[in-house]
């Protein structure tokens, strides 16, 4: 089965890359963009067939490697 992990900077953490994107959008004439946050999407192909087990394993992957929980939050989708 497949898993998709979204990793985002936590809301209190300044995102200079998101700010740069917001600024560039403004220069292109896209007014009214009040905030941009940039994150990552990580897709995994898993041999596991049980959704609950897959979710638990991917959550452990997030805690150990895929996200740095000091600054990032994550969410896991299993499909």
């Amino acid at each position: 089965m497949k898993a998709r992990v979204h990793v985002m900077l936590k809301s209190g953490v300044l995102d200079p890359q998101g700010e740069a994107v917001r600024h560039a959008l403004g220069q292109l004439g896209f007014d009214g963009v009040e905030g941009v946050r940039q994150g990552k999407v990580i897709e995994l192909d898993l041999a596991e067939t049980d959704a609950d087990t897959a979710r638990a394993t991917v959550t452990e992957m997030c805690e150990k490697l895929l996200a740095n929980t000091v600054i990032e939050s994550y969410s896991v989708e299993i499909a």
Binding site: L14, P16, K64, L65, V70, I71
Partner: protein, 222 residues
């Protein structure tokens, strides 16, 4: 005094760090990231600058999970000394040996230039060769050196005098101008600036050398 310098794919300050330790009188062993054990009798581990594993995922994240880093963490947990410079600092935060994390520089630029650093504490084997309050000039060369920690962690770092260095003129947006932090037992130091690149006259200055001299002197007598 025996120093081990870890070499990851993408490390590029490993030789500089080894030479700085050797100049101060240390015996140095280079240790490849796939090794699982450190040489016997290592007093201090140097985690060098560079772009370990291409900075994929996050700076230092892949290196922090490499086989040798388990030995680095075990060494530190037994009270061993560890010095992480630049990418090495990023690796040490990713292992959890040091608090906080290094974010992208606030101006989004890679910054490579000499900066003035204030020595905030002389109470560590790394900084004992300096005076608290002394200003030294050392180069920085990084894209992700913007130190971040939550307010409680920053308060704890200041309260325990674990901020080792601060920038006189903050180049990268670091919280409270922090350039280097110590572990709670003061035996692990992570710093973004490069003292090993200011350690002999041909570098244009020797203001980084007292760190290595002091480490070798103190650990040789330990």
């Amino acid at each position: 005094m025996h120093a081990a310098v870890i070499v990851f794919p993408g490390s590029n300050c490993d030789r500089d760090l080894a030479v700085a330790f050797e100049r101060a009188g240390a015996k140095v062993s280079m240790v490849w990231h796939k090794d699982t054990a450190l040489p016997d009798g290592v007093d201090i581990i140097g985690v060098p600058g560079g772009f370990s594993f291409g900075d994929y995922l996050r700076c230092g994240a892949i290196a922090a999970n490499s086989p040798i880093c388990r030995s680095v963490v075990a060494h530190a947990e037994k009270g061993g000394y560890v010095l992480g410079i630049c990418n090495g600092f990023q690796v040490l935060t990713e292992t959890g040996l040091l608090p906080g994390v290094l974010l992208r520089n606030a101006n989004l630029k890679y910054i490579c230039k000499p900066v003035d650093l204030r020595i905030d504490t002389a109470d560590s084997p790394f900084t004992a060769g300096y005076d608290a309050g002394q200003i030294i000039t050392v180069p920085i060369a990084h894209h992700d050196g913007n130190y971040y920690a939550d307010p409680e962690t920053l308060k704890r770092l200041h309260g325990d005098a674990r901020v080792a260095f601060t920038y006189v003129d903050n180049p990268n947006g670091s919280a409270d101008d922090i350039a280097g932090v110590l572990s709670s037992n003061r035996r692990v130091l992570g710093m973004m600036p490069h003292p090993e690149r200011m350690a002999e006259p041909l570098h244009g200055g020797t203001q980084g050398a007292p760190m290595f001299d002091s480490l070798v002197a103190q650990l040789a007598n330990a």
